[in-house]
Subunit: 597 residues, 2 copies
Amino acid sequence: MDQFQDSKQNGKAEEMKWWGWGHQNKLFPFENRPHFWPWVKFKLGIDFDPTNVTPQFQDSWIPTCKATSQELAELNVICGNLENSISTDAKVRCQHSYGKSYPDLWRARRMNFQKAPDVVVFPKTHEQVQSLLKWAERNHWTAIPFGGGTNIVGGVENRDLLQRKCMIISLKKMNRLVQFNESSQTARMQAGMVGPEVEKALNDLGYTLGHFPDSFEFSSLGGWIVTRSAGMQSDGYGKIENLVVSLRVATAQGTFETMVVPTSSAGPDLNHMMIGSEGTLGIVTEAVMRVHKMPVRKLYLGYLVKEFSQAVGVIRECHDDQTRPTLFRVQDVHETELAFKLKTAPVGLQKWVQKVGKKLIQWRGYQTPCLVIAGFEGTPQEVGFKSKFFHAKMKKTGAFALGPSVGKTWSKDKYNVPYLRDSLMDYGVIVDVAETATTWENVVSLYESTVACMNKKFQSLGVKGYIGCHLSHSYGTGACLYFTYACLEKTKDLSQYYDLKSTITQHFVNEGATLSHHHAVGYEHKPWLKQEIGETGLEALQALKKHFDQKDFLNPGKLMSRDPHEFIRSITSPKVEGNDKASYTRLSSQKNQEIQV
Amino acid sequence: MDQFQDSKQNGKAEEMKWWGWGHQNKLFPFENRPHFWPWVKFKLGIDFDPTNVTPQFQDSWIPTCKATSQELAELNVICGNLENSISTDAKVRCQHSYGKSYPDLWRARRMNFQKAPDVVVFPKTHEQVQSLLKWAERNHWTAIPFGGGTNIVGGVENRDLLQRKCMIISLKKMNRLVQFNESSQTARMQAGMVGPEVEKALNDLGYTLGHFPDSFEFSSLGGWIVTRSAGMQSDGYGKIENLVVSLRVATAQGTFETMVVPTSSAGPDLNHMMIGSEGTLGIVTEAVMRVHKMPVRKLYLGYLVKEFSQAVGVIRECHDDQTRPTLFRVQDVHETELAFKLKTAPVGLQKWVQKVGKKLIQWRGYQTPCLVIAGFEGTPQEVGFKSKFFHAKMKKTGAFALGPSVGKTWSKDKYNVPYLRDSLMDYGVIVDVAETATTWENVVSLYESTVACMNKKFQSLGVKGYIGCHLSHSYGTGACLYFTYACLEKTKDLSQYYDLKSTITQHFVNEGATLSHHHAVGYEHKPWLKQEIGETGLEALQALKKHFDQKDFLNPGKLMSRDPHEFIRSITSPKVEGNDKASYTRLSSQKNQEIQV
């Protein structure tokens, strides 16, 4: 039996909470983790209890659908008159209003759904999507593609300044494996397949896509492609753009489709025109993906190192000599501390083993260690070869080998981590992540300066803050640094969140690092895109937008959108938009205050 | 000492023959290769001697430069008033009129330089290139970037239908290694560096780019990038697009520059807007490239297999289990025969060894074998691991191991092969190559159907023809097939050449393969681009062209150019363009006919 959750999938797509992360009835499994909350409370200066009352949904707070019955009838015809092809249900519309960023959940918890779409449509074929786009363009609607709805940069939110009627095109029903070609190691899949569906379909054939982002359980193939997603094992299987062989895209200019060939020199690679385009140029409906045989062997090893930089040096070397692991993570001291605080309490003999182990580790000088996880997947030969040389390198740096158990623990919890945010939000804590990529030369210095920059920010805001980081993906020329930070929210609106968000993103871009390694642009990262790609680059993207979408009806206000001031305005006038009745009061030191929704 | 020519470079850029391939005073080294010509003559039905008189250059046949002295003065100022920054010399202009395709050499040999550029400029900096573009746009000139001039699809030819004055922007003087970053494994290089310059600069630092196309000795970094080139060892080091970290491009809209980061999710990958753009959107002036440590060990192994398909199966498997070689070539029976006919005659004991070897091979049933070359480069561990498992796979298919000597022979001759064409052209032989990529499922059937298709074509033309093929690059999902074909030219113009060219390219595209894996589009492949990328794809490229180059002055008539009938016309009205005096008569069976130039 395989120890790794992602290896065998039940293939079920589930709906997420309308107000938080993940499965409807699931919260972070805090059972038997006695060290976590005391540590969090100390770290963030929390001296009150949480108010973890599940927000209650109220139909009447959702704006009325503005679609006429004639329009709805036409949309229904386009979707083949099939049952449940279109929905104007208040809860369905609310569930398709936001992604899962902190401001999304913040507003959802306050029942602020003022810009809910008018209709959610569920097409089943490429042709239907194509017709929906033509219809929307002709009828002056906006259309926003929606995959798993896990985007955290505002990618699926209605941001139309022209206040047109809005349809969400959910790809949920486009979840078929269309064709599998074992000989060519390719699978043609509909873009609406979510992680578990993709893996179930391929696993049954002995294959895997090898793409396991944190959002794996809910996010979709199409979403991965248009945001240039990276799975946790991307070092081995490739970032999503490395797995795309061919795309089929519905656009207002007609179907855009690339050839199914391994590579070509017939002009610029047109897959890359659509990969990362975030539904602003068209809607990816199908993709031919490179698949891999299910790995015969998986070996995940844990290590402790004294310095973040030690492990960084090792992985850099592994890119030189082709011994890099399939997954490589180094957690800094802060994240390592968090990981230890999240450990379940041992029982029986385990208790004694852990105690001795801890003593040994401390005796060896690892007072504040960094945790390294290296996962090897493949044939026994490949795993044997790579892990042997990797291990030798780690030992040479003086790393303390923890063996395979840490890897197992990590793997068990890896999809649970996003649930933590909801529990922290019950305390009125801002929790956010920011990730970037930079060249090896800058990795350690960027890590250090970012931690310093954010700590300074916390100080200036007068809050106790947490910031931790792990190196999550690596390349021949550099790596991705993934930061998580948290502090109590002192403002009654999102201004403090945006203050933190801009501080860290601006710092990345100033330091020559990218504004995002795998979370895309949406509207949250828009203010920095010009600094990243330059005016000439931005204008080129805008020219493409103009070509594909003359009416600016496709996911307006995102990515290369021509209103650069939009987001800035939302920072500088931090007034909460929307329903004034949404008076969910931020929790302060008053205990057990009720949530008023 | 290293046995491989490409390993240590003298770093010298040389000018090529104006009428043929390669170094000015070099021809294919036929010495001591007694089997070649008798075999060629039999194969192609040649019963006359060659007329290998070197074409003579005549200044007076080059059209007069149309630039005014005012214009020349302005261009000189832009180029910093440096010596030799601009040239209107007839021979220099002729040398920058064409690439090195068969029609290019055919016309050059006939002194047909009717569309020679008016000026060749040699800027030294990005800013100068930027200014030249602004100047050209303002003054209604066309501008064509020129790297090594080895393009074989018409990429550097003046095809302006508006008959504007034309400047060639040679990047020859932009040949500096600007910055080397060992820590990040990156090198910032000017785009005009040619292969030997790139390798010399990096080798001196213990590094290599690992990019060795057939044209390596003359082609340039910028040319590789804008044509999506593939080096012979691309399976190991990556196709050129996999090596690009960041680009700096001069465009009529200003400087286009991407961030130096390993990867990003900030919108579509803008490097890919310029990679493969063939100088139609801008001129790549600098690139930050991912470099590799010089391999400590190189092991090139030869094998014989009975069927092309056997070796194809092995390499496909190697992509599954990460044991693929750095270079992998399978030559079909025809190319293997050619390789054997090109062997130098053995002397002394070698003679006896070869004779016994040949007997043994035949006795083992390899009457018409296929030659396989597998090259492994890297650390001793990596080479050891991969070659061991590769060897086991080859043995399992019943391959006959030839050891490392074949690899050495191949490596010695690898840059000589292109010279063969000139010698064959002395006989009036059409020699051309066509390469494509397709998925594994189709590799063998495409190989077979292409050979059959071309043999049928030869038959319909009433000529004896040769067609051979090798699998030259491979990927997880498929491979590149590289065909070489030849036959006597029966027409007095290029119509027979174009007939063959269209036959094979149309066959590729009809079979779902790409029109080119690494030779780009230029104008020769333009007629098939729409079939490859579809109308929507083509229009998107045209939208980019329109955005970057509203006046269509940058390398007009290429790639996505809006006159799709241009090339078709050149096929259907096969009248030789240009100077009527260019009466270089095709050699027929009359012996020793003089070349009249």
